[in-house]
């Protein structure tokens, strides 16, 4: 009886995995299609990959997108880390909760609202739309995720270390550099990773605040997809998928090193309990 149940659940899970991965592998499969469409496979070719690498404009857009992600994540990580410290050291409970709620507004807001309100904001300021407005927006929506990644690390930190450092004559900057930063580094790295991928992935916000001169990969794919199927996009998506795999592998390794002791213990207990069933 038990064996049958297990098989069914495995079957279900496999179906979910197939559903999740089918479109992605479908895209990659047709990136090798010699015929020009995504419907009839006529033979294997690498010409679409060649097209990607010889498309100067597309390469430029990819570089733009990565530079934007790199820069915005860097700025967001710096601001977000100090923001997390500020929230953590806010003693008044109400005030701290208010800060946290404000921090989370951009996490829960729909992209369309963020994009539209930033567009109004930049127009209000008289800022021209382009790289700077996109960069500012990406920094803005990445900061809260960095804060949320760093805060738990601050909570885990042993506060008596800070007191000890102060007693031993360290000034504030030394305390931050030698005690606080090393103990929250895993959170900062995770925050940077998340901010980076948020920026890479974003479409809706960028779509609103980008002018005519600057475009990112998502916006470009959107405008190309509206014109119809081009296998160049498939080839590009295959390359991006590979890149995502590498990022995820890196992130997985970081997050495994990142588990707290209590999580590990709970996990072990749980595994034993499941095994004993």
């Amino acid at each position: 009886m038990k064996k049958v149940k297990i098989n069914w659940s495995r079957f279900y899970l496999i179906a979910v995995f197939i559903l999740l991965y089918l479109p992605i592998f479908y895209l990659i499969f047709y990136s090798f299609n010699a015929g020009g469409t995504m419907t009839r496979f006529t033979g294997i070719t690498l010409e679409h990959y060649q097209a990607v690498f010889s498309d100067k404009r597309l390469i430029g857009i990819v570089l733009n997108t990565f530079m934007l992600a790199f820069l915005s994540a860097l700025i967001a990580t710096v601001i977000g880390t100090f923001g997390a410290m500020m929230i953590y050291y806010t003693r008044k409970r109400n005030y701290r909760n208010a800060l946290l709620s404000l921090n989370n507004i951009l996490m829960v807001s729909p992209d369309v609202i963020i994009g539209a309100s930033f567009l109004i904001f930049f127009t209000f300021l008289g800022l021209s739309l382009g790289f700077s407005s996109v960069l500012l927006s990406h920094v803005a929506f990445s900061i809260p995720i960095v804060v949320l990644m760093v805060l738990p690390k601050l909570k885990e930190m042993n506060d008596s270390m800070l007191d000890a450092a102060h007693d031993l004559g360290a000034n504030n900057w030394t305390v931050i550099r030698k005690v606080i930063l090393p103990s929250i580094t895993p959170g900062i790295i995770a925050g940077y990773f998340m901010a980076f991928t948020y920026s890479l992935d974003d479409f809706a916000v960028t779509f609103f605040v980008t002018g005519n001169g600057f475009t990112t990969l998502s916006v470009e794919i959107y405008s190309r997809a509206r014109q119809g199927v081009s296998l160049e996009i498939n080839a590009l998506s295959a390359l991006l998928f590979l890149f995502s795999m590498l990022l995820v592998a890196g992130y997985y390794m970081i997050s495994q090193g990142n588990l707290t002791k209590s999580q590990k213990k709970r996990r072990k207990e749980h595994r034993e309990a499941v095994d004993s069933l």
Binding site: S9, Y12, L13, V16, F17, L19, L20, P23, I24, Y26, L27, Y30, T37, M38, T39, I79, F82, G83, M85, M86, Y89, L102, N103, I105, L106, P110, V112, I113, A116, S117, I120, F121, L136, V139, A140, I143, N172, W173, V175, T197, L200, D201, F203, F207, L217, I221, Y222, A225, R226, V229, I233, S237, L240, S244, M245, L247, V248, Y252, R271, A273
Partner: protein, 270 residues
């Protein structure tokens, strides 16, 4: 500590003021401006007296509801089974991995799968049902939206199930409950928090996925997000766009209160 701390947090405070508070105030302010830039209540009057806008809003909420229910029905069992696997963190990463593939690329894949001569139609013709119009229908929009949101529902439910203290399950079994009773009386109530965060994470984006309505829904489905995009980027009627934006914000707050409030009650009851 205090003075230097204040110094370091200046960018963060600036960010809060400029990019969190100011935009919300600006979108509310803009919603009271007519096409000619005058302060007016006209946008709200048009919105509430137009059957088109009201029907669009109802439709949008209805679509989001259907998408959320479908995603929940698929995700809960998946999260539950996932949680019993040996290398579950690795499998969870594999569930999350597709979310790292750009949303537009996934939508693009479905254009190929669902199009008139696409693979699904070839399959339907092959088994004798014949070619159907799949792309640009309500079905395709709901399907693709649900597809995209599944990982965002699985994650919080998975986390809630993982936090669950295994000794409670053992206790339930020791007290003679069978699998179903244990699930219904112990596991399901204790994982409700995960379900609620999942519903939040799915419902709100479903109201605002404007690129899917364009690429997959073929402009037949109009959500609040599509209407906002239309007013801002096409007709340039920012006032009306902001008014719909305010409606969307209210819908968002409503769903947060709805799922948040119950959480507290639930916590007290159990």
């Amino acid at each position: 500590m205090t003075t230097s701390k204040r110094f370091y947090s200046i960018p963060y405070v600036l960010w809060l003021g400029l990019f969190v508070i100011a935009p919300v105030l600006l979108i509310i302010y803009q919603s009271f401006k007519g096409i000619d830039g005058q302060f007016t209540l006209e946008n709200y009057r048009i919105y509430f007296s137009s059957s088109t806008y009201l029907r669009m809003t109802l439709n949008s909420v209805f679509y989001a509801f259907v998408i959320t229910v479908i995603v929940l029905l698929i995700s809960y069992p998946a999260a539950y089974i996932l949680n019993q696997l040996k290398h579950k963190q690795l499998w969870l990463m594999l569930i999350i991995l597709p979310t790292w593939v750009n949303l537009l690329l996934k939508a693009y894949a479905f254009i190929g799968l669902f199009s008139a001569h696409g693979s699904l139609n070839q399959f339907l013709s092959f088994i004798g049902i014949g070619s159907q119009q799949i792309l640009f229908t309500d079905f395709s929009f709901i399907f693709v939206a649900a597809y995209i949101e599944i990982p965002f529902m699985i994650m919080p439910i998975f986390n809630a199930l993982e936090e669950l203290n295994p000794s409670l399950i053992s206790a339930s079994r020791d007290l003679g409950a069978n699998n179903w009773e244990t699930f219904r009386r112990v596991i399901l109530p204790l994982s409700m928090n995960g379900v609620k965060s999942g519903v939040q994470a799915v419902f709100i984006p479903s109201l605002s996925l404007f690129m899917l309505t364009r690429l997959i829904g073929g402009n037949r489905v109009i959500t609040l997000g599509t209407a906002i995009e239309e007013h801002f980027m096409v007709t340039q009627n920012w006032g009306m766009g902001s008014t719909i934006g305010v409606i969307l914000i209210i819908a968002m707050i409503a769903i947060m209160l709805l799922t948040g409030e119950k959480r507290k009650k639930g916590g007290r009851r159990h």
